[in-house]
Each structure stands twice: as structure tokens, then as C-alpha cells.
């Protein structure tokens, strides 16, 4: 065997081996198209090496021509698969350059088979034997085929395409790939192109050794692909490690969830399945293996809370995205369990809700304490109000009964005196004077009472309306929640401070908000609402409004709501609004009531802006 045969056979078998390896890789992973294209490139390189060997060992021009002709087919396969490989591997390149390369190369197959003896020679006139690697080999002499230009042009396009793709990949950051694949393709193709041009245009008498360069290229490509395979196996290892981490995290998470007493549940809307942790099942009273149905879960919710809870879910699913709520569960033993639940809705790519994840917690103890505190506070407030009103009423009764009693006795005495045959007119006159005096005295008592409220106890200073309302809101929040009422507060942040007595104004707001809550009995959430709002009314005053969604005030009573002892409540004293109005008037404000068009009533009052703010 000669060296030429050994070397070229080795080139071909090396290419075939590599092609086989990566074909196997592709078979295992059908989406890795770059592997298949590499195999084709390597097969083509092997084919071309075989053709080159055939040319060198050719005995006649005919044999040489045939080998060269089939060599062109190998180059065609090689070019097309290389373009595909670069395209896929570098994820770059201009499509028109790729198409131009493949198109020209494919077109060149036509003259290869139709014009002359091959694409390169119109006619091979003679074979010359030259020494090469210590033996005699054949080279051709003949007329070059000008159609060969198409093939060479396609290689130029190939170089441009790969260079361009390489630059793009380089800029993108894949510098190694760009340099190794792009650089070697450009360099080796160019070298091969120059060599073949020199030989085929008859400038040099030498055997074609392009398959050597092709081999180099195949080796570089194989090396690069091999790195990827290695990297993939590394990734598998890392993935296993991170899976272990994930499990560890899950363990930690479940520990935390258990510690926080949270029960977790997930509802898959597409599959209509509910999954829940054991803790959650325990909370809601489901056995560990019991299948969970939404209806069965809702059945365990307290009937008073069921509709509201469904509303909360519906709102979250309808684009709200998340929810936070509290509701009661009915336990089999008749007890009540308060659950605090919050969760998130996950939406799929089309924006449809896919699943809800939620966490639920038993808050009965806290809730109980809160309710007790609230009850206690209400009782204290009630006792406070009653005792204040009781003292006021007792003092008022005593003070006013004195003059009223005197008036009565005087009048009765006068009646009796008048029955005399000759009435003592002086006595009767004295009685009338006394009656008038006592009447004035009774009036003075009332004036003094009003004055007591008006002057002595007002301690005014600049107050922020938002803070004022916020304080009262904090006081009634629990009360409102217990009645499932929403308390809206709407105060512009740029509202100037008002001048007033904090405690008295809180009393007024508290009274109005509590009054507003009482008549509300609607079922829909939008019907269970008390709103407090404030706005600038002219340059000198702020208007504060408290609206409810209750039954409103009958028109014939609207004028009387501020009368003392006027009340619609069975246990009301009818003093809240008169006192409130006295307080507001003492502040220099106005106070009035009106019915809302949409139902319910609104109480409005004005307060003067603090001087320092008004002066600005």
C-alpha cells in the first residue's frame, strides 16, 4: 500500500467514524439537528476524500473525469450540510446568503453532469504522472470549464455567509463558537478554494488535497460538538444536584408552613382537581385520602359567610389575581372555627385562570380575643354614653323641675285664689310675676347647658382631616368587620388642616358612622358600605360627608333629625345628632342631612380651615 492510499483512506474513515458517532447522538436526540448535519458534512468529506484518491490513482482521463464529477456531488452535500450546520449551530447568518450558497452550488450540479467531462473540465486531454509522497500519481491536463465559476462563486458566498454568521455570534457573546467554527470554516474553505482554483484553472500541476482541509474542518466541528455533549452531561449532573436542593427547599418550606400553622391547597381549574396538605385537610375536617370537591368544602363554610367567600374567589378569578379573606367553618361538633385565607390565581398564556394556590390558617383564638375586646369596648363605650347622658338628664331634670314645679304651684294657687268671692289681686299679681321669673329661670338652665357644651370644653387646634377620620376608622373597624360592612374613606392628600377640637370632632364622626351602620341591611357587598369623604368647599371651609347605603330618612322626618330626643332607634336617646350639631356650630360650621338618590342618607358638616393654612 502506498502512503497516498493510507492517508486518504484514513481521512475518509476518520470522517465516517465521526459521522457515525454524531449520527448516533442525533438518533438519541432527534431535535439536535446540528448533529445530523455534521454527520452529513463528515460523510461528504469522506466521499470527497475517496474521489480525490480515485483521481490520483486514475489510469485514464475518463476515470479521472468520473471521479471528479462524483467529487462535485460530495462537495454539493458538504456545502449544503455545512451551511445548515453553521445556521443551526451559530444561530446566526443571513438567510439570503445561505440560499445563494446552496442555490449556486445546486445549480452547478447541472453543468457538472451536462456540460463537458465535469464541472471543472470541458475536456480532459491527458493525464500526467507526477511524483507525490514518493510515488507517481495522476493529475489532469485539459480545457477548464467556465461553469466552474458558479461553484467557486458559491464557495465565496459560503465564506461570506459563515463570516457574517460568525461576526453576529461573536457580537452576541458566543465568541468561542464564532471563532472555532466560523474562523476555521472561513480559513479552510478559503484555502481549499484557492488550491482548487489554481489546479483547475491550470496554473499549478498538483493533486487535489482539499479533503485534508475538510478533515481539519470536520475535526474542529466534532470537537465543538463534543464539548456540547460533554456540557450536556455536566448539566445532567448539575440538574440532579439542583433537584436535591429543590427537595431540600421543599422540606424547609413545609417545615415553615407547618410551623406557621398554614394549610396549603391548590385548585387546578382545568382539571377541576383540588390538592391540599394534610394540615389543610385537618383544618377543614377532611380525611387524608378523601377526594376534595369545591362544593363539599363550601358546605363546611358557615352559611352566613359562604356567599361572601364565593364572591371573593370570583373577584380573584375575574382578574383580581389575589385574595385575602376571613370566614367561619362549621365544625361537626357545632363549634365555629375562624379561618384566615389568602391566595393567588395563576393565569395561563391566554390570560385564563389556570389554578389557585392558597394558604389557610386557624385564627379562632385571635378572633375570639378580638371579639371579646370589641364587645368590652362597646360595653364600655355604651356605659360611658349612658352614664354621661344619665348624668346630664338627671342634672337637667333637677334644675328644670324646680322652676317648673314653682310655676305649677303658683298657677294652682292662683286658680284657688280666684275662686274667692273677693280675690286678693295683689297676691295674684305677685304670683304672675313669680311665674314669669321661674319661666326665665328654666330658660336660663337650658342656656347654661348649651353654653357648657359650647364654650368651656372646646380646645381647638389645627387638625388633619385624614388623621381625624383615620382615628375614628380604627375605632369602628372591628365593629364594621363584624357586621360585614365596608368603610370607605376618601380624603384628598392635599386637603388643608381644619381648626377644631379633636375629641369633640371624633365624637361627631363616631356618632355619624355608627348611625350610618345601623340601618344597613342589604345583602350585596356594594349595599353594605359607609363612606366618609372630605373635600375643600370654597377657600375657607372643608366639607366632610358621611354616607350610608341604608334605608335613608323618611322625607317627613328629615327636618326633625336634629331635634333633641328624636330617634328612630328602639334604644336610641335622640341626643347624638343634636349634640353633634351643637359641637359643629360651636366650631363655626354648618351641619345638615340629606337623602341619597341611590338610597341611604348623607350627613354633611363644614369646618373652618386652620388660619395658618388659610393664610397661605
Amino acid at each position: 500500500m502506498s502512503w497516498v492510499t493510507i492517508i486518504w483512506s484514513t481521512i475518509a474513515s476518520a470522517c465516517i467514524t465521526l459521522a457515525g458517532i454524531y449520527l448516533l447522538v442525533w438518533c438519541r436526540n432527534r431535535t439536535a439537528w446540528a448533529n445530523l448535519l455534521f454527520s452529513l458534512t463528515a460523510v461528504a468529506a469522506a466521499g470527497f476524500a475517496f474521489c480525490e484518491l480515485s483521481m490520483m490513482l486514475a489510469e485514464t482521463p475518463g476515470e479521472f473525469g468520473t471521479a471528479l464529477r462524483w467529487g462535485q456531488v460530495s462537495v454539493w452535500l458538504w456545502t449544503v450540510s455545512l451551511v445548515g450546520f453553521v445556521w443551526l449551530y451559530l444561530q446566526a447568518g443571513r438567510p439570503w446568503l445561505a440560499w445563494a450558497t446552496c442555490g449556486l452550488r445546486t445549480f452547478a450540479l447541472l453543468p457538472n453532469f451536462l456540460v463537458g467531462q465535469s464541472l471543472n473540465y470541458r475536456e480532459i486531454t491527458a493525464l500526467r504522472h507526477i511524483p507525490f509522497l514518493g510515488e507517481s500519481i495522476s493529475v489532469a491536463e485539459g480545457v477548464p470549464n467556465p461553469w466552474m465559476l458558479f461553484a467557486q462563486l458559491s464557495l465565496v458566498f459560503l465564506v461570506i455567509f459563515v463570516a457574517d454568521a460568525g461576526v453576529t455570534a461573536w457580537r452576541r457573546g458566543d465568541r468561542r463558537k464564532a471563532l472555532m467554527v466560523g474562523g476555521s470554516v472561513v480559513f479552510l474553505v478559503l484555502v481549499g478554494l484557492v488550491e482548487s482554483m489554481l489546479i483547475f484553472w491550470g496554473k499549478v500541476q498538483a493533486p487535489l488535497t482539499v479533503s485534508l482541509f475538510y478533515l481539519c474542518l470536520v475535526v474542529v466541528m466534532a470537537y465543538e460538538l463534543g464539548r456540547d455533549v460533554l456540557r450536556a452531561s455536566q448539566l445532567v449532573g448539575e440538574l440532579q444536584a439542583s433537584e436535591a436542593d429543590l427537595r431540600e427547599n421543599e422540606e424547609r418550606m413545609s417545615l415553615a408552613v407547618d410551623a406557621a400553622n398554614f394549610g396549603i391547597w391548590i385548585r387546578d381549574l382545568a382539571r377541576n382537581e383540588i390538592w391540599a396538605t394534610d394540615k389543610w385537610r385537618k383544618l377543614f375536617g377532611f380525611a387524608p385520602s378523601e377526594r376534595l370537591e369545591l362544593d363539599a368544602i363550601l358546605q363546611r363554610v358557615h352559611p352566613d359567610d359562604r356567599e361572601a367567600l364565593q364572591g371573593v374567589f370570583a373577584k380573584a378569578l375575574d382578574g383580581g389575581g389575589s385574595y385575602e379573606t376571613e370566614f367561619r367553618l362549621m365544625l361537626p361538633d357545632g363549634g365555629i372555627r375562624w379561618i384566615s385565607s389568602h391566595g393567588r390565581v395563576e393565569f395561563d398564556a391566554s390570560g385564563q385562570p389556570a389554578r389557585i394556590r392558597g394558604a389557610s390558617r386557624d385564627v379562632t383564638a385571635g378572633r375570639q380575643a378580638e371579639l371579646e375586646t370589641q364587645l368590652l369596648r362597646q360595653q364600655v363605650a355604651h356605659v360611658g354614653r349612658v352614664s354621661m347622658m344619665g348624668q346630664l338628664a338627671a342634672a337637667l331634670a333637677h334644675e328644670i323641675n324646680q322652676p317648673l314645679g314653682a310655676i305649677l304651684r303658683n298657677a294652682e294657687a292662683a286658680e284657688l285664689f280666684m275662686q274667692d268671692a273677693s280675690p286678693d289681686l295683689d297676691e295674684i299679681r305677685a304670683i304672675i310675676v313669680d311665674i314669669r321669673k321661674d319661666d326665665q329661670r328654666a330658660g336660663a338652665v337650658i342656656d347654661r347647658m348649651r353654653g357648657l357644651l359650647k364654650r368651656q370644653s372646646l380646645n381647638t387646634r389645627a387638625l388633619h382631616v385624614g388623621e381625624l377620620i383615620g382615628d375614628v376608622r380604627a375605632l369602628v373597624r372591628a365593629d364594621a368587620a363584624a357586621r360585614r360592612l365596608k368603610l370607605d374613606v376618601n380624603v384628598p392628600s392635599d386637603l388643608p388642616p381644619v381648626r377644631g377640637d379633636r375629641v369633640h370632632l371624633q365624637q361627631v364622626l363616631l356618632n355619624l358612622i355608627l348611625n350610618g351602620m345601623d340601618p344597613i341591611d342589604g345583602d350585596r357587598p356594594e349595599d353594605r358600605r359607609v363612606s366618609v369623604s372630605a373635600l375643600l368647599d370654597g377657600a375657607q371651609t372643608v366639607e366632610i360627608a358621611v354616607s350610608d347605603t341604608g334605608t335613608g330618612i323618611p322625607d317627613d322626618r328629615l327636618a326633625h333629625v336634629f331635634d333633641p330626643f328624636f330617634t328612630t332607634k328602639p334604644d336610641g336617646m335622640g341626643m347624638g345628632l343634636p349634640i353633634s350639631r351643637t359641637i359643629i356650630e360651636a366650631h363655626g360650621g354648618r351641619f345638615w342631612a340629606e337623602n341619597n338618590k341611590s338610597g341611604g342618607a348623607t350627613f354633611r358638616f363644614t369646618l373652618p380651615i386652620a388660619e395658618e393654612a388659610a393664610a397661605k
Binding site: G405, N410, E412, F417
Partner: protein
């Protein structure tokens, strides 16, 4: 105004009400005296005259209830009627337990007030009559000697003269003499009447406290 005519004594710190009430009572035919405080009343009142007291419950200084306790322990415990601007239950309970005739609001109807005053005066008259009768009886028993009282005590127990003579170690005739003296001095006709009078005077039970000597 004669000494026996009952007087309604009004005590109230409110001058206007005081005058108006006195006018009504005068017009209704009562004799009236007014006092602007409990202490003036206690200092200036007529300790003998009959009548009743009409007092305001709430007064500065000595209030109505204080006045009531001072009055009941006095020599002339007149019946008391309370008036109040605004009555409370604990005060009214205390007042009634202390023997008040009534407890009225200041703006009570006239009829109620006059009726209460009449009842108070009637009670005073009755008490006074009983008082006078007891005084008269006491005077009669005072005329008896110690021996006569001793004999009387046996008589009212229903013992015979012979038994009394044996008990006291005296002659039966002497017992008869004592009995004649007793019936003469007390002006009674029969043993039954003697027994009734003795019981009425309460002379043998807790006599020292009921009728202190020299009263």
C-alpha cells in the same frame, strides 16, 4: 292661729318654690310656715304645735333625710312628707323606711300633694290624741302608792284577795282597802276595766322606758 291649729311647715332651699307651695296650701285652707333650710326649721320651729313637715329632699347642708332622722328623735316628731325635683329609688326607700308619709315629685298633681298633706295631718292628729290619752292615764296611775301598784299587779293577774293577802303577808281586809283606793283613784267600775286600763297604760311591761318618771 290658736295653739291647737295644725301648721304645715315647708322646708325648701328654693325660695320661689317655697313661696309658691305655701300660696297653694294657704289657698287650700291650711296654716303654713316656711323655712329656707333644715337647720333654720329645727332651730325655730314651735316644739308643741301640731301639723306636718313638707321638706325638699335635696338641699345644701342638711338634706331631707338628715332632717327626717333629727325630727323622729325630737320631742315633737311631726310626720314628714318629701318633695323632690328628680326622685331616685334609694333615697325614696330610705325616706319611706324612716317613716315618711309620702315621697312626691315637685311637679306632682295638686290633688296628690293636698291629699298627702291631709293624710300627714290626720296621722299627726291621731298620734297626738294617743299621746294625750297615754299622758292622762299615766297621770292617774301616778296617784297610786307603791303598795297599791303591788296589789294591782296581783289583781290584773286574776288572783283572789285571799291569795294576794297570803302572797304579800298582809290581812285580807287590807287588800280590800287597797283595791277600793285603786278603783277610786283610777275611776274604774270593774276588774275588767281595771285590767284594760292597766294594759293600755302598759304599766307592767317595760314601764320605765315607756313612761319615764317625771314625764
Amino acid at each position: 292661729m290658736s295653739a291647737t291649729e295644725p301648721i304645715v311647715q315647708i322646708v325648701d332651699d328654693d325660695p320661689s318654690f317655697l313661696v309658691a307651695t305655701s300660696r297653694l296650701l294657704r289657698a287650700s285652707g291650711f296654716a303654713v310656715k316656711t323655712f329656707s333650710s333644715a337647720s333654720t326649721f329645727l332651730a325655730q320651729r314651735d316644739t308643741d304645735s301640731p301639723g306636718c313637715v313638707l321638706a325638699d329632699l335635696q338641699m345644701p347642708g342638711m338634706n331631707g333625710l338628715d332632717l327626717q332622722s333629727a325630727l323622729t328623735t325630737s320631742r315633737n316628731p311631726l310626720p314628714i312628707l318629701f318633695l323632690t325635683g328628680h326622685g331616685d329609688i334609694p333615697s325614696s326607700v330610705r325616706a319611706m323606711r324612716g317613716g315618711a308619709v309620702d315621697f312626691l315629685e315637685k311637679r306632682a298633681p295638686k290633688e296628690k300633694l293636698l291629699d298627702a298633706v291631709r293624710r300627714a295631718l290626720a296621722r299627726d292628729a291621731r298620734e297626738r290624741k294617743e299621746h294625750a290619752r297615754q299622758r292622762e292615764l299615766r297621770a292617774r296611775f301616778d296617784a297610786l302608792t307603791e303598795r297599791e301598784i303591788e296589789v294591782l299587779s296581783h289583781v290584773v293577774q286574776g288572783r283572789l284577795n285571799k291569795q294576794i293577802a297570803g302572797d304579800l303577808g298582809i290581812h285580807e281586809r287590807t287588800v280590800k282597802l287597797h283595791r277600793t283606793a285603786i278603783t277610786t283613784k283610777l275611776g274604774v267600775q270593774s276588774v275588767a276595766e281595771l285590767t284594760r286600763l292597766t294594759l293600755e297604760a302598759g304599766i307592767f311591761e317595760a314601764s320605765a322606758t315607756t313612761f319615764p318618771k317625771g314625764q
